[in-house]
Amino acid sequence: MFFTREERLETLRACRDCPMCHHTDAIAWVTGKETNTPRGRGMALWGLEKGILSWDDDGVSDILYKSLLDGLAQEWCDGNYDHDELVIDGRNRTLERGKAPLEVVQVLKNIREKGNPYGLKEGGIETLVKGCRVEKDPEVILFFGSSARIHRPEIIVAVIKIMSFLKIPFTFLDPEVDSGFLFYQFGDFKGAADYGKWVAGMIRRLETSKLIVLSASDYRMFTTRYSRFGSPLPKGMNVIHITEFLNQLLKDKRLIFQKTIKEKVTYHDPCHLGRFTDVVEPPRELINAIAGPYFIEMEWNRKRAHCCGGGGGISFTFPEISEKISRIRVEEALREEAKILVTSCPDCKQMLNRAIQPGEIEIKDISEIIADVI
């Protein structure tokens, strides 16, 4: 969708015959399969382009949906080809022909009908954080995201604790619904546009111009995808990731830490924050202020960080592969002998947390470690 026809064909021709980013594909590393490499996907798409393969053929949708869309292929590519956009375009074509995996159809249905991809009935933010209410004259909107609401409410607790401590009045959507990022990832462009318009409308009615986002994929959705899908947020709306917000307060000396961490801490860059939206240093400055010399980097960090295993929606479509990829990332942290693996996205925390053995390491969101030391 975001390519011109020429760009799409050029990218397709580049990927279908190229082995140069083969080793960056975590799914291919787990499965050992050529079909899960960027070249394999390029080959399949070319076959479809030329009619050697048909969209009805078995295996087409699996090849396109078994992709992390983590941006690492493009990052590695000296030709800077956007492999992920090619795959998303392929997913769109698959979905429109009714050939997407059943899990994809179900997840998008869940988001539309229940406001979260899991299809679970929710009780609202007040049921997660006792006594939490929308405040008068809010300065900021907090957007917690579905992963935090459903799986990682401790992150919401930590964020609210920080806001209350700083005496920053906040509001939030009540009930809060998903940002709709999975519509984009799964290739449902019409769904992304329709759903996004609805969410943007709700946010507009909050009449507050600063939107603080916790999840990296929600952040990417609001900052770069919404306007492309024609459902822009209100003019003048300032969308900021929580790490940027807190880092600014740290620099302004409004956020002061009373304690430090004295065990080895490492940091996982969420793909949609580090690689896709350049929010690389703010979380690091915060961790540095808390852990100083105990903060060590993993080998694959910043723009080259490996995915947590949640990319491309595969935790819904191919959960076993997703979990193996999460484990690989955890082992990278263990290799540095870190006791705490910090990340700045509830989705990433959820992915990494299910891949740890008891006692070997703790996975923490950055807001949790900050809440502990203020």
């Binding site: 580049a14 015959d17 082995p19 980013c21 080793h23 399969k33 050529e34 053929d57 030709g79």
Partner: protein, 484 residues
């Protein structure tokens, strides 16, 4: 496409060996394995033509599973095509007769790093770059840097006798092997001798190196590794002529100085290369020389090399061109920098002794530029892997506007190759130096080997009586295979 009952029965037998997750048979999956990086296959698919498809792709996780699959394939007379990274440019990994593609990439364990003897033992399906990074963490290196490093596997390196950019010092992959575990085509698992140098008779080990999967499946290898050198430096020298450059390289190698790399570009590629890397125009024959190791040794060797180059009136271009080339050495394999369709191109590399190399180069150049003048064919060459007795020539032909029709393109392509290869053989060279034979060049093997071809075909028939291993490759006879 409706599958036959036999297909279902065979599928069940395979699943019984590898499990449900490690077998693929859907149309789209098979298509991904039906083409590789050979120009012939690429142009076929580019024009929308259907390539030869496999029937199954299997992903064994152990030597045992490999063995059971081969036994099963023998029973049914189904062909088996081993597959590592699939980066061969000569069609080595494409299945021509249906059957099973055996993708080794799940067999990727590093079994042991021996830091005393400096060896590594690993399963054959491990990705080259992943292996290198793991060794680096221990301060060690395989020092094998082919352009395919990000994709190719250890087994593939050795099966095709591949080269890397530092092979002049560290050897081709074939020279790094100590020992292998191989599954013979009939399913028997063997281990070669523990070391490659001995006085224990003619060695079976050599049969599998370069066999491109036709003599069995390599499942495990023990390779020599090296310490990461204290220093590694690259220098550029511009010679007035190719002859001077070749003589410089010859003197360096025959004085037994040990550069890690020598890359000498002929006049046309000098213009291209220097412009690309340094942004300046240069006329002559450009050489990049690399030296690595302990600092004290590097100082001595680089000065000896400088003396030789200056004796031959080279202009000293300093470190920058060499270092830039090393840093960007893989960049030129990414699109849009790499030669690509629609251009027709082929690397017709060969290797010959020093006494013949200049005439060899001239003959090969003439064969392309005069023989295919009507097509506007151009020819470039550089000399990138040097040996004590000779150097390889990495030469390429280009035709910017090949036929649009796939069949015509393939016909022209094969004709150019046959002509070029016959010039190589006639002038004391070989069919190929490090890209392998695959399916494209197999028919020329009897011309190369002459009466000794019977020795190779005899061994093939002995090891693979049903001729199921990678049929259609290396020029060996094929059989009739069961259609599943």
């Amino acid at each position: 496409m409706e599958k036959s009952l036999l297909h279902e029965m065979v599928k069940e037998e395979i699943q019984d060996i590898v499990g449900r997750d490690d077998i693929d048979f859907k149309e789209a999956d098979k298509f991904c394995y039906a083409s590789d990086f050979s120009w012939v296959h690429r142009v076929w698919v580019d024009r929308g033509l259907r390539p030869m498809m496999p029937d199954f792709i299997v992903f064994p996780e152990s030597t045992e599973e490999v063995s059971r699959i081969l036994k099963m394939a023998n029973r049914h007379k189904i062909s088996v095509t081993p597959y590592g990274g699939g980066t061969n440019p000569n069609g080595g990994t494409v299945p021509l007769y249906g059957g099973i593609v055996m993708d080794l990439k799940k067999m990727k364990r590093i079994i042991r790093i021996d830091e005393t003897s400096l060896t590594v033992t690993a399963q054959a399906g491990i990705n080259g770059q992943m292996l290198e990074w793991e060794l680096n963490r221990h301060g060690l290196t395989l020092a094998h840097y082919p352009a395919s490093e990000y994709c190719a596997t250890l087994g593939g390196y050795v099966s095709t006798r591949g080269s890397g950019t530092l092979s002049t010092k560290y050897g081709k992959a074939e020279e790094m092997v100590l020992s292998m575990e191989v599954v013979l085509p009939t399913g028997q698992i063997i281990r070669t001798l523990p070391v490659p140098n001995h006085a224990t008779g003619p060695d079976v080990f050599h049969l599998f190196i370069g066999a491109e999967g036709t003599f069995g499946v390599i499942t495990e290898l023990t390779m020599r590794i090296d310490p990461i050198p204290e220093v590694r430096e690259f220098y550029g020298y511009l010679f007035e002529s190719l002859e001077d450059g070749i003589e410089a390289g010859r003197r360096i190698m025959t004085k037994r100085i040990r550069p890690c790399a020598i890359r000498l570009y002929d006049a046309p590629s000098t213009i291209k290369f220097v412009k690309k890397v340094l942004g300046i125009d240069a006329i002559g024959s450009f050489m990049v020389v690399g030296i690595d190791g302990e600092r004290s040794m590097v100082e001595v060797e680089k000065n000896e090399i400088k003396k030789i180059c200056l004796e031959l009136k080279a202009k000293n271009m300093g470190r920058e061109p060499g270092e830039v080339w090393w840093k960007d050495r893989y960049k030129f394999y990414f699109p849009p920098f790499i030669p690509n369709l629609p251009t027709m191109f082929g690397t017709v590399d060969s290797i010959v002794t020093y006494d013949r190399i200049i005439d060899f180069y001239k003959a090969k150049k003439k064969a392309i530029e005069e023989g295919y003048k009507d097509w506007g064919a151009t020819y470039t060459a550089h000399f990138s892997h040097w040996f004590p007795w000779g150097t390889m020539i990495y030469d390429r032909f280009f035709i910017e506007k090949p036929p649009q029709d796939a069949r015509e393109a393939v016909e022209l392509y094969n004709k150019i190759w046959a002509d070029s290869v016959r010039v190589s053989i006639k002038n004391g060279g070989v069919i190929n130096e490090h890209h392998g034979i695959g399916c494209k060049l197999g028919y020329l093997m009897p011309e190369q080997y002459g009466p000794t071809w019977n020795v190779l075909t005899g061994i093939k028939n002995l090891l693979d009586p049903n001729r199921i291993m990678n049929p259609g490759k290396l020029g060996f006879e094929v059989s009739e295979y069961t259609k599943v």
